[in-house]
Each structure stands twice: as C-alpha cells, then as structure tokens.
C-alpha cells in the first residue's frame, strides 16, 4: 500500500497521556489512512487501549492533538465525533432488544423511522442475525452479542470503526471464524478499522498495518510481513512470533564485514553503520536457524542438543549454549534428528537475521538483567528510572 499521496483520516501528533504522574503514552505520532485495517498490538498496559480511547474521545490527551479528517477533535466530546466503537464487553443496552440496540445511533441522529427500519434490518442481515431483532441481549450467546455490537456501530456509516479487543471473550474456534468475518466485512464496506489486540496471531491475520506498542510508545509500524521479517527492536522481535535473540559486541569491522562476539562464540556477517565495541542484538527466527555436526563458515557458535519436540508439521529443537541460553530451531520432521546431548555447530540464514543496534533503553535492560542475577545489588528499578532522567 502506498500512502504518501493520501491524506490521513486520523492523525495523532505528539499525543501524551499522564495518569498519576506516570506517562502511559509518550509522544505518539500516528497517521491512519482511509480504508485501512490498522492494528494496535502490544502487551497489556502498553497504552494501546488508551490510544484507542483518545481517538474515540473517552479520554483526552494530556498533550498533543488528534485530527479526524482535517478537523482537530482534541477537545470534541465522543458524541460529536464521526467514530463508532465496538467494546470488549460488547456494552449492549440490556433493557433494549437487538433491533433497538442497533437503531440507537440512528434514532439519535433523527433518521426517519422507515429508513431506520430498513438500515437496521439490512445490517442485521449482514451480520447474520436476521430474525433476532426482538431478542434481548441476555438471550444471546457471546458470538451473537459481538455481532450485534458490530452491527450497532456499523449501521451509523462511521468514517472510522474502533474495535477494542472485540474477540477477547470468545472461544478459540469462534474467534478464528470472527477474525475472517471481520476482515471480509471491512473489505466489503471499505471502512477504516482501528483494532486493538494483544494477540499477535490475530494481528498478523487481519491487519493491513500493525503498530506494535510497548511502554507507551510505538516500537514499530508496518505490514505484517515487514514486522515479522524485519523487526526493528528487540521487543518487536520477541513479541511477534518466536525469536532467538543473542547479545553480542562488535569486535572487528572490515569494510562490509563485521565480526560479532557473543559470550558463546563469534559470528561474521555483513552490515553497515556499526561502530567498534558497540553492543548489538542478533535476532533470528527458529525456522531460519539450524545446526550441523560440521563447522559452518562464518559461525563459531557451539551448543548441545537438549530436546526435540514433534508438533506434527515440524520439529522444535532446543539447543543449549554454554552459558545456558536456549536457542530454538524449527525444522522439517523428515530431517534426521541428532541424539540428545550431541555437541553441534549452530548457524543461521544471514539474509534472514536482523542485527539491531542497542538503544539506551535496551542497554539498561542489559544492566538490569545482569543485576537481577545479583540479588545483593537489587536496585535495578530505581537505577533505570534515575538514568532516564525522571
């Protein structure tokens, strides 16, 4: 998708949110484009729901502005925004039947009665609840309630639909089905969806673009493929799918070749922009990692086979490095398995490995990690905050 010439439908500029003196959101800048399915993905407490609530208007940012279209809506109350929300708890009105629930927004807009009936019925049809109009929410299953909540939002023809973990309460099977249904609905109606979830698989399945959030910042934003294949931070690499993450330092630079020394071995690889003695992370997916009895060019990294787990389509092997770190390797079940305890040489596909420069934050993580192994020096939290200039 090329966005450069399009105007964003939502623009967050420097959005910051303070709760009880701590920043839940830090300077969020985000452009969302018309017709796109954007997912805010991250662990609980990362600020994704707060971001959504700020777009909906339920929270106002402590600093920064929110634009919907060309209009600055930072101080506009939610009932005056052309945005609708699907809540995690569905939030269906228990004293109204399904029809009245769905019609609620249209009644507020004073749409003529005949038109309301037509639009509500059409929408109920679309979410496959044609004959459920007279039911009360408490007579419906979770999946059905979810459809009502979606219909109630979509019937208003919003410019923007916000979904706050809408499938969180459903069981696995229904969830997978609803993921596809939602995606198809979005493509059919062409409405911009902003979707909040902590489930990375859900995000990968549905989204045009994913914004991975952690600790109140957007760590990376891009397509599912970009984020999976080229994670830009250690957090993204660890949060999306499985990754082997190895700490190393730059010990030699020769034109494009770099020598990276980890605690357990040495790796030669190509790359630019490195500085001598710099700390880096090497991140590589288990499916791109392998082991061999023979030595492999550019790798001097040895470990011991600890475990094979057969999961049907593949075998998951764990190899332990001398310092105890476990590297995960996924390979085809047809491949001959080496017995447990065999010493092997590790290697990976250079093209598919990502080498990340450590930021200030990750450096503190390193220090913290080291200190955590020394309970006698347990001052890590304060230390980290103090160093950040709190």
């Amino acid at each position: 998708m090329v966005h450069t010439e399009k105007e964003p439908i939502v623009r967050l500029t420097g959005v910051t949110k303070d709760f009880d003196q701590s920043e839940v959101l830090k300077e969020i800048n985000l452009d969302i484009y018309e017709g796109e399915f954007l997912t805010l993905l991250g662990p609980s407490g990362c600020g994704k729901t707060t971001t959504l609530r700020i777009i909906a208007g339920f929270e106002s940012p402590s600093r920064g502005t929110v634009h919907i279209g060309t209009r600055d809506v930072t101080d506009v109350p939610p009932y005056k925004r052309e945005v609708n929300t699907v809540f995690q708890s569905y939030a269906l009105f228990p004293h109204m039947n399904v029809f009245d629930n769905v019609a609620f927004g249209l009644v507020e807009k004073k749409v003529p009665k005949a038109e309301i009936r037509e639009r509500v019925n059409k929408m109920l049809d679309l979410v496959q609840l044609k004959n459920f109009g007279t039911r009360k929410p408490n007579q419906m299953s979770g999946g059905q309630k979810q459809r009502v909540a979606i219909a109630r939002a979509l019937v208003n023809d919003p410019k923007l639909l916000l979904l706050d973990e809408p499938l969180g309460a459903l069981d696995m099977k229904l969830r997978k089905q609803m993921q596809l249904e939602l995606k198809h609905l979005q493509q059919l109606l062409g409405i911009t969806f902003i979707y909040v979830t902590h489930d990375q698989e859900e995000a990968l399945t549905m989204s045009d673009r994913i914004a991975v959030m952690n600790n109140g910042v957007i760590e990376q934003i891009g397509t599912a493929k970009e984020i999976y294949e080229h994670p830009e931070t250690k957090f993204v690499a660890g949060f999306i799918g499985e990754s082997n993450i190895i700490e190393a330092s730059v010990t030699a630079i020769d034109k494009h070749m770099v020598e990276l020394t980890a605690e357990n071995g040495v790796v030669h690889t190509t790359g630019d922009g490195f500085v001598m003695d710099e700390m880096v992370y090497i991140s590589v997916r288990p499916e791109n990692t392998g082991y061999s009895l023979e030595s492999v060019e550019n790798f001097r990294l040895r470990g011991i086979v600890k475990e094979h787990i057969y999961v049907g389509s593949l075998v998951k092997t764990s190899v332990m490095l001398p310092d105890g770190q476990i590297l995960k390797i996924n390979h085809h079940p047809d491949k001959d398995l080496l017995p447990i305890g065999t010493a092997v040489n590790l290697y990976w596909d250079m093209e598919k490995a990502v080498i990340m420069h450590t930021t200030e934050d990750t450096l503190y993580d390193l220090i913290e990690g080291a200190l955590l192994n020394r309970p006698d020096l347990a001052i890590t939290g304060q230390f980290k905050n103090a160093q950040k200039g709190e």
């Binding site: 909906a56 208007g57 339920f58 109350p77 939610p78 009932y79 005056k80 945005v83 609708n84 929300t85 809540f87 708890s89 939030a91 269906l92 009105f93 228990p94 004293h95 609620f104 927004g105 507020e108 807009k109 109630r152 939002a153 208003n156």
Partner: protein
C-alpha cells in the same frame, strides 16, 4: 414405592426449614394482624378495654374531615420525603459509584454510622441546633446576619427535614446498589453512538436504575407514612400525622378499636403501594 419415600423425605426437609419460619410468621405477624383487624370492628370498653360487640363505628369515625385531612397530609408528607430523598440520593449514589472501590465501602459506612445511634437522640440534637434559641439561630444573630431568630423548629418544614434525614439511607442503599451495578461502558457506548449527556441519561441511565429508584422510594415512603416520633420531636404539637393519630388513640384516648381502625388504613396504604410496585418493579430489589 421409592418415589413416595423420596416425597416424604422431601416433605420432612421442607418442614424442617420452613416450619420454624412459618411458626414465627404466624405467632408474630399473622396473630397480631388478625387481632388488630378484629378489634377494629369492636366497641370501645368503658374503661379503655374492648367490648366484643361488632360495629362499623370506628371506620365511620375515620370519615371525619379532620381525620381525612391528617391522613391526606401524611400521604403528601411521605411523598415529599421520598421525592426529596430521591433527588439528593441519586446524584450522591452516582458520585459514590464513580469513586475508587476501596473508598466506596467507607462512604456507605459513613452514611450508616449515625444510624447506630438512637434516632430520638439524633432528632433531639437537631432540635438543639434548629430551635429559636438554638445553635444556628444564635450563630446567625451573633454574626449579625439576622436580628431576631428564624422559627425553624415545630413547623411542617422541620418534620419534613426530620423525615428526609431519618430515611435518607433507605434511599441511598438500593439506589447505590442499582447504580453501581450498571456497566459504565454503557454510558460510553451511548456517547459513542451520538447520544448527548441528557439523552444518555434519559435513554440509558434512568431506565437501568429504575429498579433502584422504585425500591428506594418504597423503602422511604412506607416508613414515613407511619413514623410518629419524628413529627412529635420536630413538628411539636403543630403537625399530627397518621402515626400520631394511632399512637394517641392507643395511648392517650385509650380507644383501642379506633386506633386499630387507623392501623388497618395504614396497612391498606402500604399494601396498595406494594401492589403498584410489584406491577412496575421487581420485589426482589427490595430485599437486596
């Protein structure tokens, strides 16, 4: 065969659990009630006792315009008490439902706390504050805001104030129950769908808290209809209510049959209110 055995053991279970309760209700509710209804149709004895001869006189006596006025006044006062309690308790309960859960219990406790002290003592306390030479008037005169005391005690207003004060918690508890039970997301959902604050209140919040409003109103209306001590302390001799009439008939006039007739009227009012309530509300909300 096994079936009948099971039935008989079921019956024994029911008797074990329900029996004591039924006995209690018969001894302390049904018998006194029947007795009151019975004597309301009897003649008054010469020296205050009961002469067991049937008469409708006691009920005919109720039609005296002076009595009808008192009954009407009691109903109006009970109604006003309920409305004022509701108007104060509703926003109050809303605020409580919004504060942190940890402090919510403390707030409810603070409302209940004064009610662990005898009500008469508290009402006399108010009398000390509000009477002509009381704390409030003295303070206002000393501050030069007024020159002569404002008469606050021994008026109908004072009785109403005392009633609202006494029955306020009975309004707060069911209201608080029904307001804090309401999912706050529903309010956000209404805003989200374009409903203004007023519409959100009228279309969502009000209908969902209606059970609490009904339950609270009933719980204030019924006791205020019968309360006599509040009118005694706060209204002095100036306000006589249904409750005072009953008390006077029994204790002062020693006319038990007449007092019993007034009591039957009070019970009828209560039953009518409960009947209306069971039509529009849910009786279970009263119990909670």
């Amino acid at each position: 065969m096994a079936n009948t055995q099971k039935h008989s053991s079921d019956r024994r279970m029911v008797l074990t659990f329900v029996g004591p309760l039924a006995l209690w209700l018969i001894l302390f509710l049904a018998f006194p009630m029947i007795y009151v209804i019975l004597i309301s149709f009897m003649h008054k004895g010469l020296y205050g006792g009961i002469e067991w001869k049937f008469t409708m006189e006691n009920y005919a006596g109720l039609l005296d315009p002076a009595y009808i006025k008192v009954i009407w006044k009691s109903v109006i006062l009970a109604f006003n008490t309920s409305v004022i309690c509701l108007l104060i308790a509703y926003p109050f309960s809303f605020i409580i439902s919004k504060i942190d859960k940890r402090y919510r219990g403390i707030c409810i406790l603070l409302i209940m706390l004064p009610f662990w002290i005898n009500e008469l003592i508290r009402l006399n306390g108010w009398s000390n504050i509000l009477r002509d030479s009381g704390i409030l008037n003295t303070l206002l005169i000393r501050l030069g805001i007024i020159t002569s005391p404002i008469t606050m005690m021994y008026t109908d207003g004072a009785t109403l104030f005392g009633m609202v004060y006494a029955f306020f918690p009975f309004m707060v508890l069911p209201l608080n129950n029904s307001i804090s039970k309401m999912d706050h997301n529903l309010i956000e959902a209404a805003y989200d769908l374009g409903a203004s604050r007023l519409h959100t209140f009228l279309r969502i919040i009000l209908p969902l808290t209606l059970p609490g409003i009904f339950a609270g109103t009933i719980q204030v209306f019924i006791p205020s209809l019968g309360a006599f001590y509040i009118a005694d302390v706060m209204g002095g001799g100036n306000s006589t209510l249904l409750g005072n009439l009953i008390k006077d008939q029994f204790l002062t006039a020693r006319n038990w049959p007449s007092g019993a007739a007034f009591s039957v009227i009070l019970i009828l009012f209560t039953l009518i209110v409960l009947k209306i309530y069971s039509k529009i509300g849910n009786l279970d909300d009263l119990a909670s």
